[in-house]
Every structure is written in structure tokens, then in C-alpha cells.
């Protein structure tokens, strides 16, 4: 086996283009996938047509909220580009310089202030079905965030006005600093009524006192209701098991797993297929080496090379992303078991294919969808499709390798043991399939 290993290393050394492609291509794909996962979508570039007059306000009881607050809220959610008119906005959309445009109408203050009719914005956008879907989702989200921010401003103003009514604070613009609060009227009337002799006037005053007390209590309740309406439901999140995995370190696990898979599967499948293509397989298995020994040699070479590349990649990424080096033993275990399973899959492909190009194509066509399927979150698709994806991901090593690496690097759930056992079983299964594939020589 040592002679064959030395021979394969020599052939690899002389196939520089192949080695270059084997290293550069999967690393490039892995980095692209990693970047796509770790980077959330940027803020959309949106043209804003603000038709409101400067300084316009919405009257909320005794308070005023500037309409510009809404525009500011909206600006914080997008990359804003102010334009003067609707026509200019349409022109910018057509030229593709902005994704969409939002028109803030002049009557927004009047409508919000009326409390009867909702204010309406106009959203303009363009593009194909995919772009329309993206724009719609992003603008809806940005507007929802802006609406929440603006409604909080209004709710705060309304709450302050009610507070002033209850406590009698200085109302400022009304210029009535001595105004008695509704909450104090009841006790004041009660004290006055007690000093009056029993009679009609006292009874009438006590009736007004009861109303004042009732009104103060209900106004206080209204203030609480307002704050509840401002953010009716708060979210408290709990992770059921494992620890929370930051998106960028999960992306590291994905990128390294993809590289490990591509290099290992392509090397192992190509190594076995090369023996067929060079017609040396029959010469070797006529007694020079057993079929199982030959498969083990190819798998070992692929696993060691891909393991070294994946570990180097992980260490290099560690220079840019904070990784927990105290878990390095677990990284090595995850990479080793993953490499073994991918190598077994690779030799199975190589044993079933007749030539290197067919083996490489088959390895590539199989590996890429497996990676994408394993990344589809459960629940993101229908139950039936989710079951199919789960079954496919279960019988191929990518998902188990990703889980093992995620557990090793990030301490994510499931813990390392389960995926390692899964990978060991898959290694044995694909090893047997490879052995069966080589029987076709008979």
C-alpha cells in the first residue's frame, strides 16, 4: 500500500492543474456560500419623495409630533435618496439606480391627526418576478419598522398629554401652569363637600366628586393601554439545547465542510476511476493488492489530503473570526470522521464510474445539491418535501459532517457524539458499496 500511496502522491504532484482546481474551486465555493450565509442583505436603495411642507406636525392632544420624524424613521431603514418629484422617482426606478421609491403625501399630517382615516404612502417599484418579490419584502419590512417608530412617537405624545391631564403638569403651549390635574379634583371636591351642610348643594358636589374620581381612574388605565398598544407583544427567546451559534461561525462550519467534501470526494473518486482509465486496476487486483486494500489506499489518500486542507482553512479563518481553540481536539475529530465518510462516498463513486471525467462529474453533481439540501432549514418547505430532504441528507455524509463540525467549532446542538456515529455508519455503508462496485471487474 505504501508503494501505491507514493505513486498517487507523485501523480498528484505532476498534475498541478488538477490539484490547483481541486483546492481553489471548492475553497472559492465554500467562501461564497459562507459569505452568503453570514452577510445579511444590505439596506435597499430607495428614492424618497417627501411632499409634506417643512415643519408640518401632527397634533396629538396638547402635543405635536413633527411629520419629519416619520421620514427620519424611514431613512434609518433604507439607503435614502431624496428626490423632488414622483416623476423623478419613477425615472430613477426605470434606470435601476434605486430599487424602489416611497412617496410621502402632503396630507399625511392631516390624516394621522384626524384619527379617522389612515395615512397612505405610495410605493413604486419595478423588475422581474424575483426582484419584485425581493423589493416587496424589503420595503414592507422597512415601512413596518418606520411605522412602529412613528407610532411610538405618537403614543409617547399622547401618553404625556394624558399624564398632564391627570397630574396637572405644566401644559406649556396652553400656558396654564396652575392647571389642577384630574387626579386631584376628586380629593379637593371631597374636602369642600365635607365643609358644606347637608343639602342639595353638598349632594350635587359629592356626585361630581364621584365622577372626577371615576374619570381619573379610567384615564390612568387608558395611559397604560396606550403603552401596551405601542408594542402589544414582547418576544422572549429560549434556545432549547446547545448554545447560540453566531451566524458567522456557523458560516465557517459550512465553508469548511463544503471544502472538505469537494476535495475528498473528487480525489477519492478520481483516484479509483484513474486506475480503471489507465487499465491498471486489473493488473493490481490480480493478486498485487486486494480490492479492499486498493479502496482503502485511495480513501486514505483523499481523506488525509482533504483533512489537511480543511484544517488549514479552519486555522486561516480563525485569524479573522473568533474561534474557540480550546476545542481543537473536537475540530480534529469532526474533520477526521467527516473526511472518512466523504472518502468512502468518493471511492464508491469512483468504483461505479468507468473514467475520471465521469467520476468527477458524478461527484460534483452529487455533492453540490447535497450541500444546498442540507442547508434548507426544516420548516422552510412543506412537510412532504422536508421529509424527502431529511431522508436524502441522512443517507449522505454532508449534513452529518456539518453538524459534527458545528458542534465541534460552536458547541451547537446536536452534540458531537451523534454525528460522529452517523458518519462512521455512512463510512462503512459507502465502503461496502465501493467494494460492490469493484466487483463488476469480474
Amino acid at each position: 500500500m505504501r508503494a501505491l500511496l507514493a505513486k498517487d502522491l507523485l501523480i498528484l504532484r505532476r498534475s498541478r492543474l488538477l490539484v490547483g482546481v481541486l483546492v481553489v474551486y471548492p475553497v472559492a465555493i465554500a467562501l461564497l456560500i459562507g459569505l452568503a450565509i453570514s452577510r445579511s442583505p444590505g439596506k435597499p436603495k430607495v428614492a424618497i419623495v417627501d411632499q409634506t411642507t417643512p415643519g408640518q406636525t401632527v397634533q396629538v392632544g396638547s402635543k405635536r409630533v413633527p411629520v419629519s420624524t416619520y421620514a427620519e424613521q424611514l431613512f434609518s431603514q433604507v439607503q435614502p435618496e431624496r428626490v423632488g418629484s414622483r416623476a423623478q422617482a419613477v425615472s430613477k426606478i426605470k434606470s435601476g439606480s434605486v430599487l424602489a421609491a416611497v412617496v410621502i403625501p402632503a396630507n399625511i399630517a392631516a390624516r394621522v391627526g384626524s384619527g379617522l382615516r389612515q395615512a397612505q404612502l405610495e410605493v413604486l417599484y419595478n423588475g422581474n418576478a424575483l426582484e419584485q418579490s425581493l423589493v416587496h419584502a424589503q420595503i414592507e419590512s422597512a415601512l413596518a419598522q418606520a411605522n412602529i417608530g412613528f407610532s411610538e412617537q405618537i403614543q409617547r405624545a399622547a401618553s404625556q398629554a394624558i399624564g398632564a391631564l391627570l397630574t396637572g403638569q405644566n401644559l406649556g403651549v396652553l400656558g396654564a401652569p396652575e392647571l389642577v390635574g384630574l387626579g386631584k379634583i376628586g380629593p379637593e371636591l371631597h374636602a369642600i363637600a365635607k365643609r358644606l351642610p347637608p343639602g342639595t348643594d353638598r349632594a350635587r358636589l359629592e356626585q361630581i366628586e364621584r365622577f372626577a374620581t371615576f374619570a381619573a381612574q379610567n384615564l390612568s388605565l387608558a395611559k397604560n393601554v396606550l403603552s401596551t398598544i405601542g408594542q402589544p407583544i414582547q418576544v422572549r427567546t429560549t434556545l432549547v439545547s446547545g448554545r447560540r451559534t453566531p451566524l458567522n461561525t456557523f458560516a465557517v462550519a459550512v465553508a469548511v465542510s463544503v471544502s472538505l467534501m469537494f476535495v475528498c470526494v473528487l480525489l477519492a473518486s478520481g483516484g479509483v476511476a484513474l486506475e480503471r482509465e489507465e487499465h491498471t486496476l486489473s493488473r493490481l487486483v490480480r493478486g498485487l493488492i486486494s480490492r479492499s486494500g486498493l479502496l482503502a489506499e485511495k480513501a486514505l489518500l483523499a481523506a488525509v489530503c482533504s483533512f489537511a486542507l480543511a484544517f488549514a482553512m479552519l486555522a486561516a479563518i480563525g485569524a479573522f473570526v473568533v474561534l474557540d481553540w480550546s476545542r481543537v481536539g473536537q475540530w480534529l475529530a469532526a474533520l477526521a470522521f467527516g473526511a472518512a465518510a466523504f472518502a468512502a462516498l468518493g471511492v464508491a463513486i469512483g468504483a461505479l464510474a468507468r473514467e475520471v471525467r465521469a467520476a468527477s462529474l458524478l461527484a460534483f453533481l452529487l455533492s453540490l445539491p447535497l450541500a444546498f439540501l442540507a442547508l434548507v432549514p426544516s420548516g422552510a418547505v412543506g412537510q412532504g418535501l422536508d421529509d424527502v430532504i431529511s431522508a436524502i441528507s441522512f443517507v449522505f455524509p454532508f449534513k452529518a459532517a456539518l453538524q459534527a463540525l458545528d458542534a465541534a467549532v460552536n458547541g451547537a446542538s446536536p452534540s458531537l457524539g451523534g454525528p460522529l456515529v452517523h458518519l462512521a455508519v455512512l463510512t462503512a455503508a459507502f465502503g461496502m458499496l465501493a467494494r460492490f462496485g469493484l466487483r463488476s471487474l469480474d
Binding site: L4, E278, T280, R286, G287
Partner: protein, 256 residues
């Protein structure tokens, strides 16, 4: 089956007894028996699909037989697959498949050294040097196989088969891809091997080569041995056309 001309004086180096091979329902070899003696140069001829390559690959240990027995003089059996065991080395026979089984990215010397090590040859470097000299490949020793002509590749292919100095050499259509000059040089080399005592069994479609070089011809058709004797035995009366005699034999036996 016609037999004759076998040298009964020496012990056989290879005995094939009632060999059979099936691929599912298809019978590739049926009750094939013969013996080979030291220094014989035996041709296996027959139409396409006759079973020539299957016979040679079973003798070489590449695949197992469905029935029958193959025994070498030292008692070695051709392979693992033939006996159902595993890991049994086949150093009694060298094998050169029809298409050169070589690593094209390695040099001639590296290919020879690799197979010498895999064959557990005691002094691999000496064996490689000897084989390069015998096959006239010394000048091309450090060329990669991918840079060689078809004729030189076939010489390396045969050299690899001979690296462990086997007593029997099986060559599967060794001259099929060679030009006349290369063929002549190949047969000169093979003839020299036989004269030194190596038994050579080769398959071919060139009946001219059979007549010129083979001491014996085994005619196979549909997996059966139709004839096993010196090639001249195919000719009847004053007949001189070996190819015509071969076709007549097939027709007479219902294999046309």
C-alpha cells in the same frame, strides 16, 4: 477437438483442466483444457467473442473461473478470484493486457519500479535495469509513458509483465496497435524470451504471426477449443492459406 504435436517429454508449467466461465446466462468458456510446457510460444486464435481475453485474464488471475482448475508447476493458482480465497499473489504468470496498463504520468523507470515493488521483487532496481536493457528501453527510461509511441508503450507493458521473471507470460493481442516494424521487434523480443525458457501464451487475430512465430495454436470459438496443435496442422493436403484453413475449420464446426 484436434490435438497433436505436444512435447510430452517435459513436465507442464501450466495445466488447464475443464475450465468454464459464465457471465449470467452467457457461456464464455466451456470445458477448456490444455497444458503448456517450458519455452513454448502458444497462440490463442478465434473470432471476436470467442473467449480469448476471458481465458487469458482467468489464467492471469484477473477474474475467477466458474468451474475447472488452473495449476502452475509450482502449485500456485492464478488468483484469488479463481480459488475464492483472497490476497493470493500470482507470481507464476506475467500478464500484459491488450491496452497498456501503465501510469501515463510516471516515467518508464517509475512504472517498472512500482510494479517490481508490488510484486515483492527482491532487488527491484536490478530487475528494472535488466528489464530496461532487455526491452531496449534504456534511452527512454526517464520519459513519461504519456510521451511514448504505441510501440514503446506496448514494450513497457510487456516489460512490466516480465518484471518478476514469471515462468509463463500471457499477452493479450500484444501487436494489435503496432506498425509492421514495431511488430517485428516485439516478436523478436518475445521469441528470445521463449528461447530462454519462458512459456508465452498470446492471443491474436493475425494468423500470419501465428504461422511465423507460434509453436502451437489453440483455436477457440464460442468458448470451446476447436483445435490445439502446431499451426501447420490446420492446413489440409497442399493447402497454404492458413486464414482460409481457419475459416474452413470454423465453418465445419458450425461457428461461422
Amino acid at each position: 477437438m484436434e490435438r497433436g504435436g505436444e512435447d510430452q517429454r517435459s513436465e507442464p508449467v501450466l495445466s488447464v483442466a475443464a475450465l468454464g466461465k459464465r457471465f449470467g446466462e452467457r457461456v464464455a468458456l466451456r470445458d477448456v483444457s490444455f497444458e503448456l510446457r517450458a519455452g513454448e510460444l502458444v497462440a490463442v486464435v478465434g473470432p471476436n467473442g470467442a473467449g480469448k481475453t476471458t481465458l487469458l485474464s482467468i489464467l492471469a488471475g484477473v477474474q475467477g473461473a466458474s468451474s475447472g482448475d488452473v495449476t502452475f508447476a509450482n502449485g500456485a493458482r492464478p488468483s484469488a478470484a479463481a480459488t475464492g480465497a483472497s490476497g493470493h499473489r500470482t507470481d507464476a504468470i506475467g500478464w500484459a493486457p491488450q491496452q497498456a496498463a501503465l501510469y501515463s504520468k510516471l516515467t518508464v523507470r517509475e512504472n517498472l519500479r512500482l510494479f517490481a515493488r508490488l510484486e515483492h521483487v527482491d532487488d527491484a532496481d536490478r530487475a528494472v535495469a535488466l528489464m530496461l536493457e532487455q526491452t531496449g528501453l534504456v534511452a527512454r527510461a526517464d520519459d513519461r509513458v504519456e510521451q511514448l509511441s504505441g510501440g514503446n508503450r506496448q514494450r513497457v507493458n510487456v516489460a512490466v509483465a516480465l518484471i518478476a521473471e514469471p515462468r509463463v507470460l500471457a499477452l493479450d493481442e500484444p501487436s494489435s496497435a503496432l506498425d509492421p516494424g514495431q511488430r517485428a521487434r516485439l516478436w523478436q523480443f518475445v521469441g528470445a524470451l521463449a528461447s530462454r525458457g519462458t512459456t508465452v501464451l498470446f492471443s491474436t487475430h493475425h494468423l500470419g504471426e501465428v504461422r511465423r512465430y507460434a509453436s502451437r495454436a489453440i483455436v477457440l470459438a464460442d468458448g470451446e477449443v476447436l483445435f490445439d496443435a502446431p499451426p501447420g496442422g490446420l492446413l489440409v493436403g497442399g493447402e497454404t492459406d492458413l486464414e482460409g484453413a481457419f475459416l474452413r475449420l470454423l465453418e465445419e464446426r458450425g461457428h461461422s
